[in-house]
Symmetry: C2
């Protein structure tokens, strides 16, 4: 998505360790008009008429997922990070490793809000190692729901998460795939 | 807002301690079409033409704030919960007490994304003791921005947070004010 790539180049910051900050329009301050155009891009790639639930992860995926779900006329649900070891019943759970916080995190989702009847599109703002999305896929599987696809705004292609999902044959689309990011600049992968 | 009250009565659950669960449409699974109609209700109360930034708190306020900001054609920004004691510079900070987690939480917001030029509407899904919103007001004050108003979806009127804001003369609107919630049912406050 050309507009997204241009915003990343213009407004993104590359920090040491190839950390890419796009918190001016994606995941702190959020440009909701851009979110809407990203929803349109996803709708050009996935068959949204088959989707009845948008699934994302707390917290930074929520804004994009909410605008997508609003535009597509369907509900969204977000997996929460478990706050304690005492997790109540009635929940799907997945264990993921958070590279941001350098610890294991448990994602939880109430069984009431996703079932085997759902046809789910996972939407998230960022994909690096892909742990959050791996956990979301597990939740979909636990529910027995159908996974229609996975739509990501920005993929850090050099961290392998997206390629693992592609290799699994999943219906996966990232709107901008960053191949390299350092002090010399940002290089995007050619469109697949 | 009649529709919201009906959804609370029909789908909400009252747990011991007057805890009200509305996680089927507001803050776990999210009915984004309802969020849109709530945005319209806020737009009927506040002068949105004066607002250039929607401010909310991570995580459960984000979906409502994102749909509001999308419909009003302005950006939104969310205060994050600080994850460690080592908070980097360039941030506004407010200390609040979380009754949910029974501990102090630091809300942070990058100084880049709210300044003295902004005219801010605070939007949140829930108001109980009002600590989160009190912290958000502090962030607005630190920025030197203008606070246009505070819009809340569901207020637990019996916990006093909303009344404190009213007493301060702030431009405050909650779309449903719950006066009482126990095993006998849910009672709403009459419209002001």
């Amino acid at each position: 998505m050309q507009e997204l790539k241009e915003r990343i180049v213009k407004e993104g910051k590359v920090l040491p360790g190839s950390i890419i900050k796009v918190d001016g329009f994606l995941n702190h301050r959020v440009d909701c008009a851009l979110m809407s155009r990203m929803a349109d891009e996803f709708a050009g790639y996935f068959d949204i008429s088959k989707v009845d639930l948008v699934l994302t992860a707390e917290a930074s995926g929520i804004a994009l997922a909410a605008v997508c779900a609003y535009k597509w006329g369907i509900p969204m649900v977000y997996a929460k990070k478990a706050k304690s070891d005492n997790i109540e019943g009635g929940l799907y759970q997945s264990e993921i490793y958070s590279y941001t916080y350098k610890k294991k995190v448990t994602q939880i989702l109430s069984k009431e809000w996703m079932t085997e009847k759902n046809h789910v599109l996972i939407v998230d703002d960022f994909m690096a190692n892909g742990e959050a999305v791996r956990g979301l896929c597990e939740l979909v599987q636990q529910a027995g729901a159908e996974l229609i696809g996975i739509g990501i705004a920005v993929e850090k292609g050099f961290q392998g998460g997206g390629d693992r999902l592609r290799a699994m044959g999943l219906n996966y689309k990232a709107l901008a795939v960053i191949e390299k990011a350092d002090e010399t600049g940002i290089v995007f992968r050619e469109e697949d």
